[in-house]
Symmetry: C2
Subunit: 352 residues, 2 copies
DNA sequence: ATGAAAGCGCTAACAT
DNA sequence: ATGTTAGCGCTTTCAT
């Protein structure tokens, strides 16, 4: 019985190795996994014969027997985004280094919340650990995950009872606004998240809080017409910028909650002949790899580093059979480029 | 014996379901997997009890017993790139839809070719199928992979004996150059791959061939000083553009083999006050999500679609126990934006 | 249509 | 330090 996909030459099993090395399967297992209580000579002999036979343990068998999968699963809302794929890249590198298999699950664009999190029900026995990236299971989900003995760490969205790697988003908002205020701007617009957020995403709320705090400290407030939803996408940012420019008294500076939205804002500005950095200032968040291409001022976060940190936290929890619940606050940093500048004249889009 | 990571409430096994439903485990297995020879009434009863008990088959057990893993692995040179993460995103969506687990392996930046492909030796028993994205195993590797009964499909780089999804890269080069020639340019520069390519990447060769063909048809040749290596990175593109602008007679138009390199070229031009679209024309390849932001003319390929197509091909091979070896030639399309324009004056960077 | 039973290839307890 | 052995939870013949 030969599959058309390949030959039938059976791969060696642990028993073949045991036979060839003249020891028991248990000894082979111990020797190969570096467990104690194996004579050095035995260990090297086993290793050599295994290598000679090109033996590889069958992960399915070892997972079944051990009840562990040596697999990490990263769950992201979508892979079609610089932010998420960069987090994934950071996590993948760490997992590969520690010899963990790396599964990725994209939650897609399912409308219903229930369906949204359905994949989380499938993870058991597939994975020892979960990295949730801006994904917030509800209380029942979280409890269920925890009770199943799956280690979890999160990036971005905090989940009660699980460790997280995240930036101080209030501080992000504050830094951005203070930069604009320091340049003399006092009518500051904001391009934020979405009005109704299916994912319970609280980053926008926190950044907005930072905005309000920073403004309040200088006796300023944020009027409603200076806030537009940008949906964390390029197009959303473009539309939001249109709204802001069209309002009664347009802002002289704009803070977009992500670089991608800032890119959209840039497009709108270009289309209208508004010179960003002169007629209007613009600052984003992330330090997207293309921000330097358009010379965008931004609040940098080390996105890949955050993913790596979450993976490291997860792996250390798994290997030490320990639960962490603390937050790692990741570094952020203002990167000033040419899209922000001193307030020049009243109004926008007025040629000097 | 309670793990600190979770409670010990045992999850139901197939035996529990069998007991509860009053049938044998074999029947449960058949019923749940939709196999024939199960009475409709039995099937629904089994399904109901399984659902009520929140039973999920243990994948490790089923993989061990069946010898299949229902897992697809995508292998990419790196995840830190728009192109690769977009291919991955496309493939992931398809695999999730077909209920395949989705492993991703980044080959990292290992110098040695041997180490480069080492992960491919680890895939057996972990995965039923492999999607190789711009990854070319050597002859021995490929043969070994094939002999192990692992289904394979590739994106980009062809591998003899495996089906691929790729664009016609000669045509890509031709389209780009013809566009520039049609605009009146006759000194065309090229920002290409790397001088020494560890990965055996033949995309640059093919695109260059297209360039040569298109030029030859109009009686033109490509002089060496009009070719610079851009390494498929932003920085590489920036440096290459510098080289091109600094050469004796700079080109009036430049074709970058990827949008990312074109972005770097854009940076260099901006830094030197060269107005792209007027003083010099620039065209890239990909239609990167960011290209519309800088209004870059490009030869579009549907990157996510390519990843999805490769995944579909793979899954169909696996489910039908069949080997395909044909190539799917993916669509490409010229997208004209503002970075290319008619030849205006002799020389570059000369204000009108 | 259903059941009994023999593995699948490991790990881990328990012996020695 | 090493061996024996009983599972892990499924799938898959082979009976019935």
């Amino acid at each position: 019985m030969e599959s058309p996909l390949g030959s039938s030459t059976r791969r060696p099993t642990i028993e073949d190795v045991a036979l060839a090395a003249g020891v028991s399967v248990a000894t082979v297992s111990r020797a190969l996994r570096g467990l104690p209580n194996v004579a050095v000579s035995t260990r090297s002999r086993v290793r050599d014969t295994a290598a000679a036979m090109r033996y590889r343990p069958n992960p399915a068998a070892s997972r079944l027997a051990a009840g562990r999968s040596r697999t990490v699963t990263v769950v992201v809302p979508t892979l079609n985004s610089w932010y998420f794929s960069t987090v994934v890249a950071g996590a993948e590198a760490v997992c590969a280094e520690s010899d963990y298999d790396f599964l990725v699950v994209g939650l897609g664009s399912a409308d219903e919340r229930a369906r949204f999190f359905a994949p989380l029900n499938q993870v058991e026995h597939r994975t020892d650990g979960l990295i949730l990236v801006e994904v917030r299971p509800d209380g029942a989900q979280a409890a269920s995950l925890r009770s199943r003995g799956i280690a979890i760490s999160t990036v971005g969205a905090r989940v009660e009872g699980f460790p997280s790697v995240r930036v101080d988003d209030v501080e992000v908002g504050r830094i951005a606004i203070e930069h604009l205020l320091d340049l003399g701007h006092d009518r500051v617009g904001v391009i934020g998240g979405m009005p109704e957020d299916p994912m319970n995403f609280d980053v926008p709320k926190l950044r907005r809080q930072g905005v309000l705090d920073a403004l309040a400290e200088r006796g300023l407030a944020l009027s409603d017409d200076l806030v537009a939803a940008g949906n964390f996408s390029i197009d959303g940012g473009a539309e939001a910028m249109s709204l802001l420019l069209d309002c009664g008294r347009p802002p002289t500076a704009v803070f977009a909650f992500s670089d991608e939205m800032a890119f959209g804002a840039l497009m709108t500005a270009a289309a209208r002949g508004v010179r960003v950095g002169r007629d209007i200032s613009l600052i984003g968040v992330d330090d997207h790899e293309f921000s330097r291409v358009v010379d965008l001022t931004t609040v940098r976060q080390r996105v890949a580093w955050n993913g790596a940190a979450a993976a490291r936290a997860l792996i250390s929890m798994m290997s030490e059979q320990r639960i962490d619940t603390f937050d790692q606050i990741a570094p952020i940093e203002l990167v000033v480029r040419s899209t922000t500048g001193h307030l020049r004249s009243e109004g926008t889009a007025t040629a000097p």
